[in-house]
Symmetry: C2
Subunit: 255 residues, 2 copies
C-alpha cells in the first residue's frame, strides 16, 4: 500500500517526521510537503506563480519532495505529476495544534485531506492538541489505527477524516468519538499596535468558546479528552436551505 | 442599511468598482478589500504577520480600506475592528470568472461570503462567468435583486449565497436556478517547463468537465446560460458518513 504524507507545518516539521518514522517501515511512503510553514492557508492553491519541487534529504538520505506551494498544491502535484500511480491513502499531519470547529476552514492540514478526497483518494488529517513541547509518539502510532479503520470500513469516497488527538499521556485519553464539526463563533479580536515608524498594524487573536458547543461536536469531545474523528466533505451546499429556496419565487433578473 | 463590499481581485478591481457605483447611492456602503489580487487563496487567514489597513482614494475621494491580507481577513477586520456597528449584509465581488463546482473551495470571493455567514451576517458572493473584457453592468444591477431576495426571504443564518452570472447580453439569459455545488473532479494537469537556469518548474492547468455534472448543479445551469444561486455553509461535516461511522466500532486507541 502506498501512502502519501503531507502537512502544513512544512517538510521539516517534527510531526511529519514522526509519521514518516512510524509508517515507512511497513508501507510505501512518499512525502510531498510545503517547503515552508503554510499554516492557516485554507484551501489556497497557487495559480499566479509556478511551483518548484525540490528533493529534501534528512540525515543524509532522501526524505521527500519539498514544494514551493500550499498543502493543496502538494496533494495535486503529487497525484497528478510526481507519482506514477496515485497513492492508496493520504495522511496529512501530524499538525501542531488542534483543527476543530470553524478553524477547520482555515486549516492547511485539513485542506490537504479534503483535496485528497476530492481527487478520489481516501484521506485523513491528524492533529495534536498542543502548541508546545509536543510528543508525537502516541499520535503517530494511532495513525496506524486510522489507516486500518479507513480501509476496513471503506470510508465513503469524497469524504476525509479529520482526526484530533488530546496531547496528554495516552492512559488519560477517555476514548474516541465520531463527531461533527463545531460551528460556534469564536471570540475574535484585533490588537492594534504602533510600529517604530508610527504606523498602525493589527494582530488577530481568537479563542473558541467551548461552553457554547454541542455535545457531539469535535470541540467539546476534544476538550473532554477524547480523540475526535469527523468525516468532512468538499461539497459546501447547504441542502436544507437549497430546498427551501427552490420553493420560493426567484429574484427578478429583468432588471 | 449598511453593506460591506469586498472581493478577492483587489480593491482596484473593476468588478468591485461597479458594485460600489451601483449600490452607494442607495445604501451605506463600506469597502474593505485586499490591497492586491488574492485569487485562489481559499479561506486563508493571516496569522504570522500583522495586517495593515490603508485608506484608498479613487478619483480624489475616499473609496475604502485596502488590507494587506486575504478576503477572509478583510471581512474579519471590517466586522471586528474597522466598523463600529457590524454591516447588515456583505457582498463579495463582482468576481472576474465563475466560482462553481469544487472551485468554490479555492475561491477567495466565496470565502469572504462564508466568513460573513460564520460571523452571523447575511452574505453573498457574486461572480461573472468571463475572464476577459467584462461588462459588469447587468451583474451590478442584479446584485440589488440579490440583496432584496436575501432580506425578503430571511436567508438562513450561517449560509451564504454563491451567485454566478453568465457573461452574455441579459436578454439571452435563460433564467435563474437554485443549484447545488458541482462536485465532479476537474481534468487537471501540470505543465513542466525549464527556466533559463535549467531548472524545472510547473504550471497548474485545469478544466471542468461539464458533461459529467448533475442537472441541478451550478456548473450545468451556468453553462445553460442561467444565473445560479447556491446556498453554501461553513459546516464541512458529512452528516451521512458521520451517522454511519457512529454505528461502527471505533478504532482501538490502546496502541
Amino acid at each position: 500500500m502506498k501512502i502519501l504524507l503531507t502537512n502544513d507545518d512544512g517538510i521539516y516539521a517534527h510531526g511529519l517526521g514522526a509519521l514518516y518514522r512510524e509508517l515507512s517501515g511497513d508501507f510505501e511512503v512518499v512525502v510531498v510537503a510545503p517547503e515552508t510553514e503554510m499554516s492557516a492557508v485554507g484551501h489556497a492553491i497557487t495559480l499566479d506563480s509556478p511551483l518548484r519541487v525540490r528533493d529534501v534529504y534528512k540525515n543524509g538520505s532522501f526524505f521527500g519532495y519539498g514544494v514551493s506551494g500550499t498543502p493543496a498544491d502538494c496533494v495535486k502535484i503529487a497525484v497528478e505529476e510526481l507519482l506514477e500511480i496515485p497513492p492508496d491513502l493520504i495522511i496529512s499531519g501530524i499538525n501542531l495544534g488542534a483543527n476543530v470547529g470553524v478553524n477547520v476552514l482555515y486549516s492547511g492540514t485539513v485542506s490537504a485531506a479534503t483535496e485528497g478526497a476530492f481527487l478520489g483518494i481516501r484521506s485523513a488529517a491528524i492533529s495534536l492538541d498542543t502548541l508546545k513541547a509536543p510528543d508525537f509518539g502516541f499520535a503517530a502510532r494511532f495513525s496506524r489505527e486510522i489507516i486500518g479503520f479507513i480501509i476496513e470500513n471503506d470510508l465513503k469516497k469524497g469524504t476525509a477524516l479529520n482526526v484530533n488527538i488530546p496531547a496528554i499521556p495516552e492512559e488519560r485519553i477517555k476514548g474516541i468519538s465520531f463527531t461533527r464539526q463545531g460551528t460556534r463563533r469564536q471570540k475574535e479580536k484585533f490588537e492594534s499596535r504602533i510600529d517604530p515608524r508610527g504606523n498602525v498594524y493589527y494582530w488577530l487573536s481568537a479563542e473558541i468558546p467551548v461552553e457554547d458547543e454541542a455535545v457531539d461536536s469535535d470541540i467539546r469531545a476534544l476538550r473532554e479528552r477524547r480523540i475526535t474523528i469527523t468525516p468532512i466533505t468538499y461539497d459546501l451546499t447547504c441542502r436544507k436551505e437549497m430546498e427551501r429556496l427552490q420553493s420560493l419565487p426567484p429574484p427578478d433578473y429583468k432588471v
